[in-house]
Symmetry: C2
Subunit: 257 residues, 2 copies
Amino acid sequence: MINEHTMKQPKITLAGAGPGDAELITLKAVKALNTADVVLYDALVNEELLGHAPASAVKVYVGKRSGDHTYSQDTVNKLMVDYALNYGHVVRLKGGDPFVFGRGFEELEYAALHHIPTQVIPGISSSISVPELQHIPVTHRGLSESFWVVTGTTADGRISNDLIEATKSKATVVVLMGIHKLAEITELFKNEGKHHLPAAVIQSGSTTNEKVAVGMVDNIVELVKENGITSPALLIFGEVVSLHPEFQIINDAVNAK
Amino acid sequence: MINEHTMKQPKITLAGAGPGDAELITLKAVKALNTADVVLYDALVNEELLGHAPASAVKVYVGKRSGDHTYSQDTVNKLMVDYALNYGHVVRLKGGDPFVFGRGFEELEYAALHHIPTQVIPGISSSISVPELQHIPVTHRGLSESFWVVTGTTADGRISNDLIEATKSKATVVVLMGIHKLAEITELFKNEGKHHLPAAVIQSGSTTNEKVAVGMVDNIVELVKENGITSPALLIFGEVVSLHPEFQIINDAVNAK
C-alpha cells in the first residue's frame, strides 16, 4: 500500500501573516492555510492563524526558541523542502510581508532549485500598517511625497548606508528592526540638524501588547525608555508623525518641563 | 414611527481593498463589509468585493466616471459623512492601502471634524505586492537594504523632488502613478549614469489583465511601448529587478538585436 503522504504533490506557498492582528491576513493566505499539510511559522506570527490549517496539519515553529537559539536560514530552507517532498503542501507563514526584509525570496529560490512549485502571497507589511493603525499615514499631501523603508539591522550589524542617506532626505523614514540602534539613528538625524523632526516608536503594533512613544528626534530615546518600549518595534521619522493624536499633547508636556 | 436609518449609529471604516485580486483583501476588511450599510468605492477596487456587503447596502462608485470626470476629494468627503449620518456604517473602500498616496488620512480628518467614529483597516499596498507577485522582492540580501516609494504624480503635476533624490540612492525605487512620466523618470536615472539599472513596469498587477515589461533604464520606455502597457501601472527600479525570471532572457534578446 502506498503511503498517503508520498502521493501528495509537493508545493510551497510563501504567505504573509501580517503585523500581528489575526484578522490582518488575506483571504488568499487563509485559503492556502486551509489546504496546508504543513505550516512552518516564525516568531512574529500570531499563533491563532494556525487555526486556519487543518487539525491534522503539522505545525512547526521555526522562529527563536528559548535561549534565543535561532534556526539558521539554511535549516529553514531544508525543512521547508523536506516537508514538501514528504507531506505535500507546505505553507511558509512569515510575519508581515514575506518580501520585506523577510528573506522570503531566498526561500523561493531554494524551493525552485529543488523543482518544487511555489506561490507567494503578499501580507500586510508592518512598515505601512503599524504607523497607519496609530493614525500616522506614511504619505500625506503637503507633508510627505514619499516613504523610505530601511532595515535597522544589516547582515553585518552595521548601520545601513541607505539609512544614513535616508536621514538626509525629505522622505518619511520607516526603520524596521532598529530599536536597538535608536540612539545611534537619532544621532544621524541630529547631524542633519533635524532635532525637532517628529518621531515615533511603536512596539508590537496591531496587537494587544501595542505600546507607542510619540515625540521628536531630540526626546524619542528618553520617551522610549519611560514607556518601557522594547523589541519588536518600528521607528518612524517625518512630519507625518505630527498627525498622531498625541503629538501636540506630548510635546507641550515635554516643553513645559 | 422612527425611520430605521436614523436609529443607526454613524461610523466610518476606511479600508484597503488591496491591489486588485479579490482575495488580496484582509479578513478584517471583509468583516467590515459584512456590516456595511453603505460602500463608497474607487476606480481601482475590484467590484467582486462588493459581494461581501449585504445585498441591501448602498454601493456608490466614487472613482472616475465615463468622460474621465472625477469626484473631487471634497465631494467624496461630504458623501461619506452624509451617508454615515443617514445610513449608519459607511465602508470607504480604497485600492491598495488607504494611507499610501490614497488621501485616506484627509478622509479620516474630515470624519473626525464631524464627530463620526472612524476606524482604519490597512490593505495590501501595490507598492510591495505588485512587484512581489512578479517574484521581484523590494529588498534582498546583497542587492538592496531598503526601498523608497514615491508618487509619480504630485499635486501640482511636477516630478517630486523626492523622486529626483531617489534616483541618486541605492534604494529600490518604486514609483506609483508614474507611467505617464516614465521617459522623464528614466532621464533622471541616466543623469546618474544608471543606464543599465534593471527596471520593470507592471500594469494591473495581481489581476487577469496584468502585463509586465522587464528591462533596464535604457530600454524600458521602448519595452513598455512594445508591450502596450498603460495606466494603471507601477514602476520599479533597482538591482532586485534582475531577480525577475525573464530578466536575463529579455536582456540577452535586446543585446542580440
